[in-house]
Symmetry: C2
Subunit: 250 residues, 2 copies
């Protein structure tokens, strides 16, 4: 029995996120179908996280256990043969028995893309948020810096009645950059709460609009109340960009 | 009566090129419908060139004449309101009466994009050619340099029985570059024959494959025979990138 780790990439435009759902096409469903074709058995597939409908992944990791003897380097091309072109498997590795795509994860990096120009760009429809007005990145970076470190991020999480988790996370990096008219927010943390990146982006866009001052961020965090932060930014600009594990290069 | 110039951008993935056709959705058809909504009259729209199905445009220019009093700077947002999100109007200007998007054009620049990696990239499906094997850009550039200058490019043109044009064109720039795994060919000329860029790209990929030597290029050109050059590269990697006119900044 081997434990296999895979690194995937997917265009989330036509998917309702990773996790299998009734009446909606998801990445997990397409992946499971392809894996069944390749190894001929049903596997319990562990994904590194849930992702929302319309969210993309430059790197998304899964793990599963199998007794099938296929050489590990043959797994990506075999799966890619059966997967739709909106999903690609980039790498495969055999891991120690206890490895789990979600529980072994040491952190993640997301990027959020904004097409910042008065005229829309047909090539980024569904792949970036279109924002018409100039963005003051230095002000947005001043606000983002207040998020760094370990905090209770209840204010930046869509309330979820299912369970009361520990709401503390450690943000290691949070920075706005731009290349031409494409603006990008990069954020790395040990983990993320539900909708956390999208609410942070929505809040930092409120900073750009002057509705929130950079120095308000610590107060919003301290409030531990979703009502104090900005709106949830739309999903199409969001990409899971890197997933960190011990001993795996990103 | 004013002569209006427009700069458009379009994602060619779902279009059968620019020019209106029976039984196929074209950019011109969508543009004409939007223009009718804005100025309420039928115009004779001149496009800077035909483009094939699946080919994209970062810059595509049109001209038309109208008596409608709409301020010229209101034309792009008004058209964008009625156009599908796959097309965007970036700029509008009033030109001299004799201006014609095609006949006043001083040259064009195309780019051709190749995703050069063994694994496909879901984000560039339909937006770049996927080429698995390593490409020797210095060898491809050596071959491309032989195309510079004024030549009869019959060997790099899909034969067209409709008329016998002058087949001479002047290539001012032709260069392969790369950024990560994305390889790009940039070519500028005073004009291009039918399928010329795609046949040049197909021929330079034959150079990469060792089927044609860089020093064979002058012989292929001199033959003035389509049978000596390489295949026509697929349309999805091709972008009309810049269109040159006197007095208009690209």
């Amino acid at each position: 029995m081997r434990t296999i780790w895979l690194d995937l990439m997917y265009d989330g435009k036509t998917f309702h996120g990773w996790q299998i759902q009734e009446n909606a096409v998801t990445v997990q469903e397409e992946f499971q179908k392809a894996l069944r074709q390749v190894i001929g058995e049903e596997c319990d597939i562990k994904g590194c996280s849930r992702t929302d409908a319309g969210v993309h992944a430059n790197m998304y990791c899964v793990s599963f256990r199998t007794e099938h003897p296929i050489p590990v380097d043959r797994i990506p091309p075999a799966l890619n043969h059966f997967l739709p072109t909106t999903i690609a498997v980039k790498r495969a590795m055999v891991m120690d028995e206890g490895f789990h795509a979600r529980y072994s994860c040491r952190g993640k990096e997301y990027v959020y893309k904004i097409w910042n120009h008065p005229v829309r760009n047909p090539f980024v429809e569904g792949y970036a948020l279109h924002y018409w007005y100039p963005l003051d990145l230095s002000r947005m970076n001043e606000a983002a810096a207040h998020l760094l470190g370990t905090h209770d991020f209840t204010s930046f999480c869509t309330p979820d009645t299912r369970k009361k988790d520990n709401m503390c996370r450690t943000i290691r990096h949070a920075e706005w950059t731009s290349q031409g008219d494409m603006v990008q927010f990069t954020i790395e943390a040990d983990g993320f709460l539900y909708n956390m990146v999208r609410i942070i982006v929505g809040t930092l866009l409120y900073v750009a609009q002057g509705k929130i001052a950079p120095e308000d961020i610590p107060k919003i965090t301290a409030a531990k109340d979703r009502h104090f932060s900005g709106p949830t930014a739309p999903p199409q600009g969001l990409y899971l960009n890197r997933v960190f594990y011990d001993g795996i290069e990103t």
